[in-house]
Amino acid sequence: MFSKRLIVLATLLTLASLLATQCAPGPAPAPAPTQAPPAAEVPATKAPEATPPPAPVAKRVFRATFSPPLRADPAVGNDYVASSTLPNLYDTLVFPNAQGGVDPWLAESWDVSSDGLTYTFHLRKGVKFHDGTELKASDVVYSFDRLKTIGEGYAYLVTPGVEGVTALDDYTVEFKVTQASALFLPSLVRLYVANEDLVRQNTKAEGPYGENGDYGKEWLQTHDAGSGPYKIKEFPLEQYVLMEKFPDWWGKFNPNAPDEARFIITTEAVTVRSLLENKELEITDQWQSLEAYQAFEKIPGVKVIALPTLSSFYYMINTKKPPTDDVHCRKAMAYAFDYDTALTLEWPGTQQMIAPVSAILAGVDKTLPHYTRDLDKAKEELAQCKYAAELDKYPVEVHWVAQVPDEEKYALLFQANMAEIGIKVEVVKVPWLSMVENTSKLETAPHIATIYVSSDLPEAGLMMRQRYHSSTTGTWQQNEWLQDPEMDKAIDDALATLDQEERFAKYSAIQAKLIDLAPSVWIYDQLEKHGIRECVDFPAARGETSVVMGYYFFLPDIGVTCQ
């Protein structure tokens, strides 16, 4: 009796949910913004392009998938999804342009002292935070202090070398740096200006930051305190962030700019594909398999775009561990690797690296020679390697990152290629955090770590420092353990040169030296692929957007004309 009742109940529930399925609202968003009528009342509109619904003014929605987790605190987030979200929520002093430089933004103009050590920014007046209060110079100071104290996110890029930040008046802020650097100004694109009062109101007294308590960290995790073109409407952690247009933004919106943007935090292959097919997604993430993108291309109304990135795929060779401490062994590897086959495993249009850093960075000398597959030369180099006679005693360990399954293909290709010249390679799959841990100590650092590294700014010198300067040994950004004082000096010197031409010439010299040292096998410059609906106007696809990570998703410039 008891069970029969339960069964009846269950049947009813099942029927109810099936009923709901039948009448589920289609992809066309319901006109009412909130408190949508019960799902059952909305007529089925599964194929809107066949029978366009008489929807009056459809809300423009832009939905994208991203890889988790999203940390939206401007002093915490620094990965791809955070970098894509934060510029939409917060304004910065300067804004990166498509030419690799920066444009005025919150700062309408700035003065640089003749020694290059003092920058004075003149702020735009009347900029409103999302709560309606005005953005002042003190907010810039507070945001900088906050970033520096918390030390996460882009702090490593923005705060080193800055001696002090002061608000001269409500609309003037002064930065003092310890050393002239070509990188200081562009790095300010990562200083997101937050509303001091609002953050203070939402700061918990208890926390590690002394009188600043938790510095508003908990609150900022799911709220924004910015003045940017979009503001957070809903943010259920680990699911999605829903942003809506901030109509009082001072800047200019594309007339078709989305009213709402939803960044969905998942990269599950079937989910992404099914969302795209159901027209519930405007653009996919960049982490799908090659096969998935091929499948996306076949969906009507969807195309795949491949965009340049500041990221390249490196085989970082440990120069302190036998047998790869011998430059000839390293060169042998660089000559033996089959770059052409490797490129066939990637999206068409992907290019081999022709320099030690990505070819799209400003200041890269594209005229220098680069390594190509040449087995004779490889064998020649190998013969000169002091371990040539006893290679079996020195198996080379290649560690690839478990979270990026495609890396396995290259690792296995590398293994096969090296076998051809007699180098024994062992392939090891390593979770990302173990990779970070292993590369932090010379004893645990593998012979080769296969890692994608992205430059923070489109400047060759910055990437050279990130990759080959002694200051980054012991981080995952450099498994080479180059530790070459001359190299360090050359890089520092180049970066301190404010004159562009002079600076680029110095880059070229460093580049040549690196090619000669062969501390890495330079595989390819990464393209990021996205499946995108054709009704989305994506300026990045036309090369009109800065390549700095995240700015492809700067929403005010994106146009959505989807039904």
Binding site: P208, P236, E268
Partner: protein, 342 residues
């Protein structure tokens, strides 16, 4: 009175078990390499921040004292900051727990209804084709890991047939109901939004079913065999012999005693579901505690790991107590003998 006594003793004992568990967790967390203070504030925080947090975490004291502080904080619901989300672990858990709870409760509901329903069906039509189909299904359910079901459902019911949504807890055009319990289905009902309730229900079906399949199969097997066992008991023959109609015999006098083992196992299954859920939550993008725990494990986020394990332990122990109570309620033998011995 003495039933209460039994309950109190049971709870006190459980508290001791949890205390023991907390020691195990604390030891694991502290013997791991790495500086907990540095971990709490991130790799690039200035040294003065690290020193301050070290002071706050009492890391300069001897281990037993540290444990004392840690336990005190844990009891007050303070597990420190999460490495991954940079928020207090407690806030994270408050955020993710309801989603898991909703999923597990729903899956428990499906297991109970489905498992008992199929078990009764199978026992009622023992050795007919219905029975055989149910038994076949039970085997399939027991031997297939939940993540395989999840992938299967996503592909078949979500992607190919498009019957159910496969991502998240609500459709995007549906506004979440005001948070009361954190269980969206319940909140929607409380707010009187029936449409939202149905939408939330449609979202929870596939993940809950993936989780429940194993339990349904298990429950069906146990119900079937315990009904089959009891069917040959004298009290059933007696009830029949004294003229009680068949439907009453089956639905009442056979079912109740037969459900006792099912309920015990069901309770354990539900408690265990919290931990098995991580892959399913991953696949369905379900923002639950298990996925959070998994993520913190991948990032060696010890504060979060400790909290999640302790909470799962507490749930496990609590569910066990609840199961004991339900079984005692179903079975006067246990109730009465426990009362007598207490």
């Amino acid at each position: 009175m003495s039933t209460l006594n039994f309950l109190v003793r049971r709870i006190i004992y459980s508290v001791f078990v949890l205390l023991g568990l907390s020691i195990v967790i604390f030891v694991i967390a502290r013997i791991m390499p790495g500086d907990p203070a540095r971990m709490a504030v991130g790799a690039r925080a200035p040294q003065w921040v690290v020193d301050r947090i070290r002071e706050q975490m009492h890391l300069n004291e001897p281990l037993p004292v540290q444990y004392g502080y840690w336990l005190r904080d844990a009891l007050r619901g303070d597990f420190g900051l999460s490495l991954v989300t940079q928020r207090p672990v407690t806030s994270d858990i408050r955020e993710f727990f309801p989603a898991s709870l909703e999923l597990v409760l729903f899956s428990g509901f499906l297991s109970a209804v489905g498992g008992i329903g199929l078990g009764v069906l199978s026992a009622r039509y023992k050795d007919t084709w219905i029975d055989n189909i149910v038994r076949l299904f039970s085997y399939a359910g027991v031997v297939t890991p939940s993540y395989i079901f999840a992938i299967l459902f996503v592909l078949l019911l979500g992607w190919a047939l498009k019957w159910f949504p496969i991502i998240g807890r609500l459709s995007e055009e549906v506004t979440a109901p005001p948070v009361v319990t954190g269980l969206i289905t319940l909140d929607a009902l409380l707010a009187g939004q029936f449409g939202t309730f149905l939408d939330a229900l449609r979202h929870i079906v596939l993940p809950a079913l993936s989780l429940a399949m194993g339990a349904i199969a298990q429950e069906a097997r146990i119900t079937r065999s315990s009904m089959a066992d009891n069917l040959s008991k004298d009290y059933i023959a007696s009830a029949r012999a004294l003229g009680i109609p068949e439907r009453i015999v089956m639905g009442r006098f056979l079912l109740k005693p037969s459900l006792i083992p099912t309920v015990s196992i069901l309770g354990l299954d539900i408690a265990a579901t919290f931990s098995v859920a991580f892959l399913v939550e991953l696949i369905f993008n379900w923002p639950g505690l298990a996925r959070y725990g998994m993520q913190s494990m991948m990032h060696k986020d010890l504060n979060a790991i400790s909290a999640v394990i302790l909470i799962l332990g507490a749930i496990f122990v609590t569910v066990n107590i609840v199961v004991d109570i339900i079984v005692a309620w179903l079975d006067p033998r246990i109730r009465l003998s426990a009362a007598r011995s207490a």
